[in-house]
Subunit: 419 residues, 2 copies
Amino acid sequence: MKFGGTSVADADRIRAAAQRAIDARNAGHQVVMVVSAMGHATDDLVAMAAQVTDNPPKREMDQLLATGEQVTISLVAMAMEAMGAAAISFTAGQIGIVTDDVHTKAKIKSIDVRRLRAALDAGKIGIVAGFQGVTRDGAITTLGRGGSNVTLVAIAAALEADVCENYTDVDGIFTADPRIVPNARKIDVISYDEMLELASLGASVLHNRAVEFAKKYGVPIHVRNSQNHKKGTMIVAETESMERIVVSGVALKDKLARITLRNVPDHPGVAASIFQTIATNNIVVDDIIQTIADNKRATVAFTVDIAELPETRSVVDRLCRELGCEATFEDHLAKVSAVGMGMRIHTGVAERMFAALAAGKINIQNITTSEIKISVLIDRGQGPQALRLVHDAFDLGSAPVKPAPRKRAARPAGKAKKK
Amino acid sequence: MKFGGTSVADADRIRAAAQRAIDARNAGHQVVMVVSAMGHATDDLVAMAAQVTDNPPKREMDQLLATGEQVTISLVAMAMEAMGAAAISFTAGQIGIVTDDVHTKAKIKSIDVRRLRAALDAGKIGIVAGFQGVTRDGAITTLGRGGSNVTLVAIAAALEADVCENYTDVDGIFTADPRIVPNARKIDVISYDEMLELASLGASVLHNRAVEFAKKYGVPIHVRNSQNHKKGTMIVAETESMERIVVSGVALKDKLARITLRNVPDHPGVAASIFQTIATNNIVVDDIIQTIADNKRATVAFTVDIAELPETRSVVDRLCRELGCEATFEDHLAKVSAVGMGMRIHTGVAERMFAALAAGKINIQNITTSEIKISVLIDRGQGPQALRLVHDAFDLGSAPVKPAPRKRAARPAGKAKKK
């Protein structure tokens, strides 16, 4: 059971979260709680760092931020003991959540669950600090945005948990962000792949690294509200019936920047070396768009989160000096995406989306697709309107779109996209 | 160099402390900083715990409190990097400060300085979290009151440091607490043994465990003010000239409770078993007073800090049921003590102290002595007045009492007390 920052923001909420875990244990389960830093604790720590430096070393930032979750685990364990339930708290280091040494964005390499399992077998509820890890040589790392969910799923996988509950302050995964699309509807069941697309496209409830972990190890995730007992959204392995729904959800990723490199030498390996250099600098590329030009010169374009733009700019400027290309940077973009397993077998999805945007006079600056999603790059100012238009175009605000079932045998081989 | 909580209470003070360390490094030294939690951070954490429970499990309390120093080390390291000096922060776990598992009062068993020394040899300033340790199986411990000073001296000893600077918010060790005795004077040099007596008698600048460590490993401690560059007090090994000063300082320990066990069976081993039971429960006994009575029954009395009284009471009540004795508990006492190496060779010290208290109509409820100190137990309400009377009796407010030197050879053998 994972409780995010708002679900452990004060003593009362800590007790409420503890009670959930105690109820689950009393129902006969072994329970591990993963918790985030309380409320705005992480922001407060970031603000403290900002008072001493504009450019904190990442190792020290991790050393600082990890205290946020450490405070929560000890308070939750104390609250549980006061409520009569045996509990023990663990930092990531104490249960061997070993990561690589990419500070502020570390990846989990292994978890040694022996100590955690011993605590569970002794009848205790284990309280684990989310968001953090430890390198082989003992430095504290953090797992980046959504890191507590990564911890949740990684521990569930390592323990081979029956179920993995993600408690948050919303009722589940919605067909769109309800703050932007008022008639958005809660989704009951969604596949890992759809959730992965939605998460990487800007749906903020669950980070895609957590979902990837869950998919890899087949851990079902139940996303639910810590303030009520409603059923939330189950994220599970794909089933055939899911394809009946053409579009499961739409997402808006604003704050995107586009970097365009023109006049790039067009011989094998250049693109690879460009993106390798960017990856080496731990910059996460959103989408890659390559257009071959004439005269053995190519244009390479890609998008990144605008938070990554300063670092990207310095890396790209250096690259262009080496390669003799020119770079342009645009920081006013957003991406609207529609995601659904049903795109594999239903036709006309792209046309429906483009028509809706055209009717709203929204200019499409780029299109990217995968087997189960269509994304368009637009001006950031038009993002919310575009999201609502696409949401309505697929009738997501009312009942799910369920066309008459088709036999899967009738579907063309090779999973060809039919947009 | 150790900086206490007030010396790192905000960003400006953190920078000032960092600058001290950088200056020392620029002067050609290798520098380790030990830091406490910022300002009232520890109190804030205690208050957070109090919101969830009245009786926090000690392991969880340590897990919680250790975050205070972890915040400071990372901020200090960030500040230093921003000031252009290479720095790296270490929690106790990261540099293997291994303790026993007595949570909230742990004792250091070993320090593995390899990682710290490697950082120093790489030209970095090492920033170490004071007050904390880690057990062999990875649980975080804290070292109890004054624990950051214990960390300071233990690391200085382990690194065989040339000097160990304790930065605080006062100019050094005083002949008495200046808040109670306005004409108290800063002491320039004091021996470990005198400091040990003063510390255990209530002088709050340095905890006795830190001084014991320093004495054992011969680490000189310079206690000084982080807000100025004055020379403070050097705590060093005893020299012969120190005996010229009859009394170096006086101390008041208020908040004492006396426990008296009457009708205790008087056969060998009973007293030992009583105090062993008390020690097993991690209760720190202040002074022991035993009076043999008639009829093979004895009276055993001892004092403890009143914070220890509830636990002491339950242990003693249990003991008395087993032994058939009766216990009484008094919680209104204080102890005034005079300390000085010179007591070994000068006569009349006790008489001078008792006369001063008698003149002030202060009733002495008990007397304890060691080779270099005389303590009297009095009513708590008279503590401050008694401290001032004894301070004046030995002229501590003006220049040190320096009688004409006597040849040591003239002194009786056996270091007999001459009070």
